[in-house]
Symmetry: C2
Subunit: 337 residues, 2 copies
DNA sequence: CGGTTTCATGTAACCGATTACATCAGATGA
DNA sequence: TCATCTGATGTAATCGGTTACATGAAACCG
């Protein structure tokens, strides 16, 4: 691998000049520039990023902390793929690479500093956190990183931190309003795990809209799930035992909604005639599962692009981190309501 | 940020000793080791990875080249998420980080060296390529990287290269055998784009099994799709116009199979009674779309773990790259056949 | 007891870049 | 004509580690 010194020697110039050709080409003469670039192409010279990072303390890498919950092997964020595609695209456009960090081996598996340490060792210019509400201490510890941080789907603040979330409360309101408009007066909901902020917001918005419409929400009509399919099935089964039975259900996640539909079918009832179902997320299956799941969609691509933008703003050196971004949610009408 | 020299000074030892404490602790005395570790914890010292990489030429980073097809914004690999989860998990276990590389900005958008250059600049210890048969020159150029490379779902050979694929031919055979066993004698297929190797293998295995069973496959019963839903719908629509109409269809991808089911339904026919459908991939929707899609499943997690293992083998310094891995495919019976 | 090992540690070169500062030739201007 | 400015380039310190080699003390051994 040819170094800058080798290239400088071959060109008969100093290393400083070569460096300038690549970093501040405008200060070097046309003639020298072409000489160096030509020779660089000839011998296949490429600057070594580690050396540049060492010298400049800028790595052009953004750390990605993700999938931190080792206790749950099936952990997944519903939009991981969409977010990654958008995030990588947006960062690439700025010449930034995305480093998916392994926990620091020097810290034990339970050490809350295992990601912070990994971040600090690698001179990343910023960090993106993808979580879904686990509130893992190892994630929260990242607020201490003296580096711009953007968290997705997680309230996350700090002197150099901001976050992106969907308008979950608004989405919950949309769902309630839609069901009310469809004439339902007894509406149940399957919410997410206690302590999960997006789930709580969805429930809050939903409840608010019901209250405004003068529709009561009994405690027994609020059942907790864990966002996965089976929990939706189980929750719905319980709801169907209620007397009177709710005529509509708002599930705080599409997977749970699909599970609910399954349970309704198994009980010999029809969707939406006997029980209407509305979900949240608009995952791929929503469009494909019959009768088509009406749902509240999140701007999946927006997560990635907004994260990149917030990060770029902080990298540009604003004194205070950008305000948290709230992505709009919208209703997608399909057959289940 | 405290440096190794700072730490050495505070401990009253040389930088070499500090370095040894972290890299070859067995050669330094118990006493000194504890002194250094204690002080390191106290002042929060962490070694700088860029500096280590510069000195050792090992970065503990694996480059990930992915989503190279800029012409198709919706590009996606059916298993990207599963692969990433497994890959990251397996690499993390070995202390390796995954660097999702942006194309080198110094190369134009169409430059076939844009990924190779990014790889070379970053001192990555290895490269993983996720492709789905685009045969992008920028991907093929990576064979010249003097670094271990593992490609997923792509035949990719070279002095330091190997690849992981599913047993696509075997899967095609499984699909055919299953339909034959179900009594079908007129079976059509929706294949992938010309030049797509996995698709070609699936077709080959499928065709082979039919031939062995003495069942003809007319040219008109082979229709080409592009792996996406709409193409499956369109292909099936054409197949339904055939006279006689096939009684079963093998789609080389689940999304196309779902599209096919949709087309069959829209034509007023039933699945599987009028036309049976079998897919390939076992994506999430397969289980959820009624009547449940019978399909050939790939070992999604296996892609990630096998890639990590092949990579580790090459990093361990074997003279020749490991043989390509062929992951077994198996049949998943559901309601569509 | 002198010589050889062994163990712990130190010295200093090196990895490949960036960059503050110095230099120097030629152009400018009074 | 000489001082001054400008533009292009060079010198050398620096970033934060690793590691070959040197050193010196203690242990071992015939």
């Amino acid at each position: 691998m040819s170094s800058i010194r080798e290239l400088a020697r071959r060109c008969g110039v100093s290393v400083a000049t070569v460096s300038r050709v690549f970093n501040t080409p405008e200060v070097v003469s046309q003639q020298t520039r072409q000489l160096v670039l030509g020779m660089a192409a000839e011998i296949g010279y490429l600057p070594n990023e580690s050396a540049r990072t060492l010298a400049t303390k800028k790595s052009n890498m953004v750390g990605l902390v993700w999938d931190t919950d080792h206790r749950r092997p099936g952990w997944r964020h519903p939009f991981l793929q969409d977010i990654l595609v958008a995030l990588k695209g947006a960062l690439s456009a700025h010449g930034l690479h995305l480093l998916m960090l392994a926990p620091d081996p020097g810290a034990g598996p339970g050490d809350p500093r295992r990601f912070l340490r990994a971040v600090q060792r690698h001179n990343v210019d910023g960090v993106v956190i993808i979580d879904n509400g686990s509130r893992d201490p190892a994630v929260l510890a990242l607020a201490d990183a003296e580096v711009p941080c953007v968290a997705l789907d997680l309230r996350f603040t700090g002197p150099t931190c901001t976050y992106i979330t969907s308008d979950n409360a608004g989405g919950g309101r949309l769902a309630a309003a839609h069901l009310i408009e469809r004439g339902h007066r007894h509406i149940a909901t399957i919410t997410g795990p206690a302590g999960n902020w997006p789930a709580a917001q969805r429930l809050a918005g939903f409840r608010e809209a019901l209250t405004e419409a003068g529709i009561p929400l009994a405690d027994g009509d609020v059942v907790t799930g864990d966002f996965y399919l089976d929990s939706g099935h189980a929750a719905m089964t319980r709801l169907l035992e209620r007397d009177p039975r709710p005529t509509a259900v708002f599930a705080a996640g599409d997977e749970m909604a699909v599970g609910a539909i399954k349970a309704i079918r198994e009980a010999g009832l029809r969707v939406p005639d006997d029980v209407a179902v509305i979900g949240f997320d608009d995952i791929e299956v929503a469009a494909l599962v019959p009768p088509g799941l009406t749902t509240v969609t999140q701007d999946k691509t927006g997560f990635g692009t907004a994260a990149a933008e917030s990060l770029m703003a902080m990298l540009a050196g604003t004194a205070t981190p950008p305000e948290p971004t709230t992505l709009p949610t919208t209703l997608i009408l399909r057959g289940s309501t």
